[in-house]
């Protein structure tokens, strides 16, 4: 039994989500190998070889992988697949693009977004926005799995002594090409890896108010900033701020929900946070049903008081 982890990386380093997937692979048992499909990505491959539990890194280095497009990435995974019983990817925008392609090309089912490994064939995954947990068993000879990062601790970035083996890169698929990217620039911690998250909803009223009220709070706490779907839809903040069933799944030590009512789709994205604080003027808002500490009040008064008192 051997596991192949599809690394998410930026060529120079591994993305944090890859470390959670390596932990899930370790929980399944057997060798853990990591595939780095990138361009000038030897630094990312070297980093992967250092991760605790990794015995081998496959590096497919080619211009075909420069923009991490899923068509070429999936073909690269399939080229290496024969040696593996399990193929794992992070349940991120990147992993969700690649893994189902791999599964279909191998004629295997995919098990999405696992939160627990029961045994080598059996996994637990949330369904219905996390309102139920299904335990599913696969009858396929190869399991293709995506992993919810918040459910598995990150593997240590040191302690491994894997070898790096260069593999032949596949040709560019020619099916798609990269045009441009607008990546949100931020000095803050990444939303999915932050210890503290300050998150705002429609109650803030506007993008200006979101920034005016929440930025000082996030600064004081060195927190990442998130938002409900309503706030994103209303244009307060970009889409990558969205926490929820179809946005980002987060589980920080402290989640402060400001002006968020708490639709089930939002709760699906943050209810595994260690401590939840809700600030809302509506005492009946569903967010109070999951909050450890609720403060009923006008957020325009409460948040500045909080900033001043911290």
């Amino acid at each position: 039994m051997a596991n192949l982890v599809i690394a998410e990386h930026d060529h120079g380093s591994l993305r944090a989500a890859t470390l959670n997937v390596i932990s899930a692979a370790t929980a399944i048992g057997g060798d853990v190998h990591v595939l780095v499909a990138g361009h000038n990505a030897s630094a990312a491959a070297a980093a992967a070889a250092q991760v605790a539990g990794v015995s081998k890194v496959l590096l497919a280095d080619s211009a075909a992988h420069a923009n991490l497009l899923p068509e070429s990435a999936a073909a690269q995974v399939v080229a290496a697949a024969a040696a593996y019983s399990h193929i794992l990817a992070p349940a991120t925008a990147y992993g969700k693009g690649v893994a189902p392609r791999v599964a279909a090309l191998l004629d295997k089912a995919q098990i999405s977004d696992i939160i627990k490994v029961v045994d080598a064939d059996t996994f637990v995954r949330p369904i219905y926005a996390g309102n139920a947990y299904a335990t599913v068993k696969s009858s396929d000879s190869v399991k293709v799995v995506t992993v919810r990062g918040t459910a598995f601790a990150a593997a240590a970035t040191t302690g491994g002594s894997g070898t790096v083996e260069t593999v032949t890169a596949v040709a560019d698929s020619g099916l798609s090409s990269f045009v441009s990217a607008e990546i949100t620039k931020s000095e803050r911690p990444e939303l999915t890896a932050a210890k503290i998250i300050v998150s705002g909803g429609r109650g803030l009223g506007s993008g200006d108010k979101y920034r005016e009220l929440l930025t000082p709070l996030a600064d004081k706490l060195n927190a990442a900033m998130g938002a409900s779907r309503a706030a994103v839809d209303a244009g307060f903040v970009p889409n990558d701020y969205q926490v929820g069933q179809t946005g980002k799944i987060v589980a920080p030590d402290l989640y402060i929900a400001v002006g968020i009512s708490g639709a089930i789709q939002h709760l699906a994205g943050m209810k595994d946070s260690k401590v939840i604080v809700a600030i809302n003027k509506d005492p009946d808002a569903p967010i109070f049903g999951v909050a450890d500490y609720g403060l009923v009040g006008d957020l325009f008064e409460v948040v500045p008081q909080l900033v001043a008192a911290l």
Partner: protein, 249 residues
């Protein structure tokens, strides 16, 4: 160019499902069923492309129980020209659905297939990508903007760090994210008109597809419940709790 839009019948997004007492699944008897919201966005996008004369025909297709006909009628009320149901009582998993859709694509030869990025029941987020792989087509998932010119679609995608724009060669697969469009409400005249539109029905066997599930659900459990919290009186009390009780700041 034809556009194919697969649509799924799911438990309405406002329904909070309950796990059955015997842990065999969730109780969906007598709950409201609707078109998956992401599929609705897909239908709307396809109809807009036809209205802009990029497409000539929009075909909605669904797979599942006989009641999926209602979902197809909804899609036709939004503006799809006709519907196809692949009728079966077997529990369909994404790989099987992708194979069924491939068979329909082979028949209909659309230039574009637009699907929802995920269904809000199984939250799998697989079918579009699987269909793309089976067809050997390019894919643009999580679309927030679509422009079609000649045989290329330029698609802006919502990704983890922001947005990315890719160009995909047609025919291709697009999956929709929340902010691609706001689906129109079906008007009564359009609902009436939809009842008269063509709806063809196939069985999986007619299409030569084996839909046997690969995954078995052993049990379904309630997630652990969060302990009900407390309300605090003011900011000072909140900070005290966070520092001294929760010890998170």
């Amino acid at each position: 160019m034809k556009i194919l839009v697969p649509v799924k019948r799911v438990v309405d997004y406002n329904v909070k499902v309950r796990v059955k007492a015997d842990n065999t699944g969730v109780d969906i008897a007598n709950v409201k069923m609707s078109m998956n919201p992401f599929c609705e966005i897909a239908v709307e996008e396809a109809v807009r492309l036809r209205e802009k004369s990029v497409a000539t025909e929009v075909i909605a297709v669904s797979a599942g129980v006989v009641q999926c006909q209602e979902t197809l009628r909804n899609a036709m009320a939004i503006g799809a020209d006709r519907g196809i149901l692949i009728e079966t009582d077997v529990e369909l998993q994404p790989l099987a659905v992708a194979k069924l859709l491939k068979a329909i694509v082979d028949k209909e030869q659309p230039g574009l297939v637009i699907l929802g990025k995920q269904a809000i029941d199984d939250d799998a987020n697989q079918t579009g990508q699987m269909l793309a792989a089976l067809l050997g087509w390019g894919q643009a998932t999580f679309a927030s903007k679509v422009e079609v010119a000649g045989d290329v679609a330029t698609v802006t995608r919502e990704i983890d760090g922001g947005a990315e724009t890719v160009a995909i060669k047609l025919p291709a697969i697009i999956t929709t994210d929340l902010r691609l469009n706001e689906p129109r409400y079906a008007t009564l005249p359009n609902i009436m008109k939809a009842k008269k539109k063509q709806l063809d029905i196939f069985k999986p066997a007619d299409l030569g597809v084996d839909v046997t599930p690969r995954l078995t659900t052993l049990r379904v459990d309630e997630p652990p419940k969060r302990q009900g919290g407390v309300k605090v009186a003011d900011v000072a009390a909140l900070i005290d709790k966070l520092k001294n009780e929760a010890k998170v700041i």
